[in-house]
């Protein structure tokens, strides 16, 4: 029996080594916690940060669809407000066909934009009107310029923003409408958490103080061609919808494909179950009922 006992004895010692080490860490940590008298130090971010509000969108839910007119309105908000500071570098003008723009409209839209180019005669860097194959141009020539123009905070590219944040669509809409005065309770409880000069209080932002100034401030800031209301709430929702499309242009197609796949798989699985039952009926004991 000796060779049976030995590996188990070694295991026992190795096991006890790890258990003692982790319990030692536990005791040390518990000492610190007791010493502090509290598990977690409270801070303003934990108490005053808010999760995004839930908004109704046509593309919500497994059967949701884009509202092309809303996406076009969102494009206009991006164009007239956000584009001053934020790039949209993964979206090409040709992609706007998905918003219902015709080829002519896309050409005209692109031509209004100025994109970097090369002079065909001299080879010097220059600018030229955009083509449908071009991507949305960046408002700044490079990151240093973006940093310099924005008090050292680079405005993020917006192409993927709704996928790069938890609950991104609602987050964008909530953030754009969430600028407010710092609540007096916050200042009373955490006087050191006063919003520094140059930043703006917004409870939907992770650390509550955002470098971006409120971009949507007045009703009618953007005039919609379809006569839709252009209060701050509507503009925020429309641009959030547009940025959902830029982040996941295949969203609706993906779900439609998914439904077809599901119908096929359910059918195939039922067939597979029936053939399995039939094959096994020969050897399955009869149940006594």
């Amino acid at each position: 029996m000796r060779q049976l006992v030995t590996p188990r004895l070694i295991a026992l010692f190795v096991g006890l080594f790890f258990v003692l080490a982790v319990l030692w860490a536990f005791v040390t940590g518990a000492g610190t916690v007791i010493g502090q008298g509290y598990l977690k130090e409270a801070n303003a971010e934990q108490e005053f940060h808010k999760h995004p509000n839930k908004y109704e969108f046509g593309f919500n839910g497994p059967l949701g669809k884009w509202d092309q007119r809303q996406l076009q309105r969102g494009l206009k908000v991006y164009d007239e407000v956000c584009a001053a500071c934020h790039s949209l570098k993964y979206v090409a003008f040709r992609d706007l066909a998905a918003l219902g723009l015709t080829e002519g409209q896309i050409k005209a839209y692109a031509a209004k934009k100025v994109v970097p180019g090369i002079d065909p005669v001299t080879g010097e860097t220059t600018t030229r009107p955009g083509l449908p194959t071009d991507y949305f141009p960046s408002p700044y020539p490079n990151e240093i310029a973006a940093r310099a123009a924005n008090n050292n905070a680079v405005p993020p590219d917006l192409s993927l923003i709704t996928k790069a944040r938890h609950d991104g669509t609602n987050y964008v809409a909530s953030l754009l409408t969430g600028f407010q005065e710092q609540p007096p309770e916050l200042l009373k409880k955490f006087p050191e958490a006063k919003t520094p000069a140059g930043l703006h209080y917004n409870p939907y932002f992770a650390n509550l103080n955002l470098a971006m100034a409120p971009p949507l401030t007045t009703s009618g800031q953007v005039t919609f061609d379809d006569g839709s209301p252009s209060d701050v709430q509507s503009m925020a929702k429309d641009v959030a919808a547009f940025l959902t499309w830029t982040a996941e242009p295949n969203l609706v197609k993906r779900r439609q494909t998914g439904w077809a796949v599901m119908v096929f798989l359910l059918f195939a699985t039922v067939l597979a179950y029936m053939s399995k039952q039939q094959i096994w009926s020969a050897v399955k004991p009869k149940t006594k009922d």
């Binding site: 049976l4 590996p7 188990r8 295991a11 026992l12 190795v14 096991g15 006890l16 790890f18 258990v19 003692l20 080490a21 982790v22 319990l23 030692w24 860490a25 536990f26 040390t28 940590g29 518990a30 916690v33 598990l39 977690k40 497994p62 993964y90 992609d95 993020p156 192409s159 993927l160 996928k163 790069a164 944040r165 938890h166 991104g168 992770a206 982040a247 242009p249 295949n250 993906r254 779900r255 494909t257 998914g258 439904w259 796949v261 599901m262 798989l265 359910l266 195939a268 699985t269 597979a272 179950y273 053939s275 399995k276 094959i279 096994w280 020969a282 050897v283 004991p285």
Partner: protein, 432 residues
């Protein structure tokens, strides 16, 4: 191997006769997953997960090879090339979501496969080699998945790579040179991305090779079963085809429904939003978390927060994390109780359901949570139990346990009696 009653392959036409003589590939398949492989007749649905794991390995290789045709492993453009796949490649979004969620499903399926093996002690003689090869596959999967997650070059890709390669820095004396050598630099950059891509392409084929060995080793003693008793006669078995091909077909259908729900309706549910932000070495994410399938082991790594004797806390964590998996290699020699199935081991069963499974659940939860209290203390308790379970409790339980009586045969377990054999199948006792 085979039982004496295994059906023999009979080539029926000119082509199969020709092949059988020159290269008996059809015979190999027939004996591996065809009518030539007798399998215990009482396998539960938990025995579907080996075939499912094989399916997801193939799915990962197929989607991965196509993705590699469009992806660019260069730190300057890797993130943009991923977006190119998502936006401009025909059905590229589907391929990428299928691949990313395919990795998750591969792990779900393999975790169930492993825990089935643990509950039914499938690692015991004569199946030790199958288990050892399985642990090798799991380790290779972890390496492959880790390197795959780096490729999109998002924030979590970069910082995950930094944290995990940083583990090698905990090795005394040579840690830092090893870390720099592995990364090809002081931090993850183009050199690291390139080698990770190369290895991420290579390792799945290594996995496929070990899977072949795993299945080969399985065919020597034959499949285990929920009673844990060995096959005694022909009436204990049914041929793999059509019985288990049909059952696996149904199992695959169910698995694919769950998988496609994720791919088509919630493709980013298991991912992290930060990975849609391009890698930025100058901006550390608030919480660096690996992919969900690493959470239990990440929790073990972070549970060791204090230096122990002469071992620094970080090294202790790294040792524990690797040991947590490596000790699985020794299970066949730690659990010596001849009874395999947990159904007949009352004490073992209690520790499994009320000890190991809750400990794993706590570790899983804490691994995804931020490294603050109470998660650290919870994961410390769970880590202590995890090591205690495999290295202390299991060896002791296996020596002292009074097991419950086993059925006389698989047939008896299914039909309630040995006598009542299936029509047309003789229950001849076989000399083993």
């Amino acid at each position: 191997m085979s039982f004496p009653w295994a059906k023999e392959y009979q080539p029926t036409n000119g082509l199969t006769k020709f092949l059988d003589e020159k290269l008996p590939l059809p015979r190999l398949v027939y004996n591996a997953v065809g009518a030539g492989y007798p399998v215990p007749r009482n396998l539960s649905y938990f025995w579907n997960f080996g075939v499912l794991a094989g399916f997801f390995l193939v799915l990962q290789i197929v989607t991965g090879v196509i993705l590699a045709m469009h992806y660019a492993a260069n730190a300057q453009i890797a993130f943009a090339s991923t977006e190119h796949i998502m936006r401009d490649v025909n059905w590229g979004w589907m391929l990428r979501y299928a691949h990313a969620n395919g990795a998750s499903f591969f792990f779900i399926v393999v975790y169930i496969h492993i825990f089935r093996g643990l509950f039914y002690s499938s690692y015991k003689a004569p199946r030790e080699m199958i288990w050892l090869l399985g642990v090798v596959i799991f380790l290779l999967m972890m390496a492959t998945a880790f390197m795959g997650y780096v490729l999109p070059w998002g924030q979590m890709s970069f910082w995950g790579a930094k944290v995990i390669t940083g583990l090698f820095g905990a090795i005394p004396l040579v840690g830092e040179p090893i870390q720099i050598w592995l990364l090809g630099g002081f931090a993850p950059d183009n050199a690291a991305l390139n080698r990770f891509f190369s290895l991420h392409f290579l390792l799945p084929f290594v996995i496929a090779g070990v899977v072949i060995l795993h299945i080969w080793a399985l065919h020597i003693p034959g499949s285990s079963n929920p009673t844990g008793i060995e096959v005694k006669s022909e009436s204990d078995t049914v041929p793999f085809h059509p019985y288990y091909t049909a059952k696996d077909g149904f199992g695959l259908g169910v698995a694919l429904i769950a998988y496609c729900l994720l791919v088509f309706f919630l493709p980013n549910y298991l991912g992290h939003p930060d990975n849609y932000i391009e890698a930025n070495p100058l901006s550390t994410p608030a919480h660096i978390v690996p992919e969900w399938y690493f959470w239990p082991f990440y929790a073990i790594l972070r549970a060791f927060t204090a230096d122990f004797l002469i071992v620094p806390a970080k090294l202790m964590g790294v040792l524990a994390m690797f040991s947590a998996i490596l000790m699985w290699f020794f299970l066949p020699w730690l659990d010596r109780n001849p009874v395999r199935s947990g159904h007949y081991r009352p004490l073992f069963r209690k520790f499994f359901w009320f000890g190991l499974i809750p400990a794993m659940a706590v570790l899983f939860y804490c691994g995804g949570a931020p490294a603050e209290e109470p998660y650290v203390m919870l994961s410390q308790i769970a880590t202590a139990y995890y090591f205690l379970h495999f290295l202390v409790i299991l060896p002791i339980v296996s020596s002292i346990e009074k097991t419950e009586p086993l059925p006389t045969s698989i047939t008896a377990a299914v039909l309630g009696s040995d006598k009542e054999v299936v029509k047309g199948e003789a229950a001849e006792p076989v000399a083993v």
